[in-house]
Amino acid sequence: MRLSINFTPSMHRGKEKYTEEQLVKLLREKDRAGFDYLYENYSGALYTVILNIVNDRELAADVLQDSFVKIWKQVSGYDPDKGRLYTWMMRICRNSAIDVVRSRDFRNTRQNVALEESVYGTVATEMKVEHIGIRKWIDKLREEQRIPLTMSYLEGFTHPEIAQKLGLPEGTVKTRIRAGLIQLRSLMSNSG
């Protein structure tokens, strides 16, 4: 029930098909075919991850470009023992996106202090959001899970920060986020 094994990703459409091990080796060798394969198979998924956070297609494209440069330069530091290549890349993209949102929101809140007092304390959530990717599932969660998980995953706040903003004990925030994550995974596995 946890995992839909029969899920068929839209990848491996290219002529070549590499295992993750082969792909990492090619990337470390700075191989162009390896990079083309990586981009073709992962750029769309990573673009969605970034878009979920920055809510702006042009800005998301810039962040994606920067993220791929980081991936290209840091791939020698990727440790396959600690996790899959996609997990590693997704973290790089998410961190880059949150950094951009943070600096953008910082500028915006300086320009318009009133916006600071919105529900989550950020501007991004006030904008029209695209209901794709993980946001699609997060939005299906109950509010007590949805709000801290949005603040944590999409806005990059730490548990103590969320606890302070929501006026909840830190332990409660952690419990609700983890419950939300388990729920989220279940939703993701069932939707396909």
Binding site: K30, S43, A45, M90, R91, I177
Partner: protein, 266 residues
């Protein structure tokens, strides 16, 4: 740690989503090494998230790929992918022959350089010695010229009609010697020609005397005199005589050393 409880705690999901604190991440990584089931659960969670994300892929603008293609540094394409043209063996530029010829020419040039340098050095030395010879010739030429000038002026004086030649034959045991005085009445100049007088011994000098009013008067010492020597001028004199005296001369002639003597015409 109860691995089943841990797997169901949401800690793995938090880790995969990047929401775990560094301490939580370190704990999970450690547990993965200890509990294969936790490791398996982590992999399953990762695959689940990855597959969901791939299903939600939205294509980014084409400019991203274009920018990356020019921004990233790729290793060079394998040579096999580039068309390879065989290097024509026959028609190519004859580098080997040209190189060999160049080396031969270089060596020949080196030998010639050495040869010409030696030639140049010898010529330079010869030129320097010629230059020195020319200088010494010029110097002796000048000296000769000066002596010639002296003799010419002396001869001009003696040829003058105002000059009286006073022959001084040898006296007594010195009869084999003779000398002459050339006396210009007009200018009063007196020149002596040593004639056949032998060279004066060391520490001695010939002294010319003019006999004026019956008394000998010093007319000068003979010094390195070849043909003519200018002596002291005299207004009038009845005779001239030469004695051998100690170097520097005396006020009175030493009569037993009277070599030659001659009367003037008055």
């Amino acid at each position: 740690v109860d691995s089943k409880e841990y797997i169901n705690s949401g800690a793995i999901e938090a880790y995969v989503m990047g929401l775990a604190t560094p301490e939580e991440s370190a704990e999970l990584e450690m547990l993965c090494r200890q509990y294969p089931e936790i490791r398996r659960a982590l992999r399953e969670c990762e695959e689940s998230l990855e597959n969901a994300a791939l299903a939600q892929a939205s294509p980014p603008p084409a400019r991203v790929k274009n920018a990356l293609d020019s921004a990233l540094t790729f290793k060079k394409e394998p040579a096999a992918q580039a068309p390879v043209y065989p290097i024509p063996q026959q028609r190519g530029f004859p580098w080997r022959s040209v190189a060999a010829a160049a080396i031969v020419m270089l060596i020949a040039s080196g030998i010639l350089n050495y040869y010409f340098y030696n030639r140049y050095r010898k010529a330079d030395e010869a030129y320097a010695s010629l230059l020195a010879q020319t200088e010494s010739l010029q110097a002796s030429n000048k000296a000769i010229q000066a002596r010639l000038d002296d003799m010419e002026s002396g001869l001009t004086l003696m040829m003058s009609s105002n000059v009286q030649k006073v022959e001084m034959p040898g006296v007594g045991s010195f009869a084999q010697y003779h000398a002459s005085v050339y006396w210009n009445h007009h200018s009063k100049e007196v020149f002596l020609s040593p004639g056949t007088l032998p060279p004066a011994p060391d520490g001695k000098q010939y002294q010319l005397w003019a006999i004026v009013d019956g008394k000998p008067v010093d007319a000068g010492m003979l010094d390195q005199c070849h043909l003519f020597c200018r002596m002291k001028p005299f207004d009038h004199a009845s005779a001239f005589a030469i004695t051998l005296e100690p170097a520097g001369g005396k006020t009175e002639p030493t009569m037993d050393q009277l070599y030659v003597m001659g009367q003037t015409r008055s």
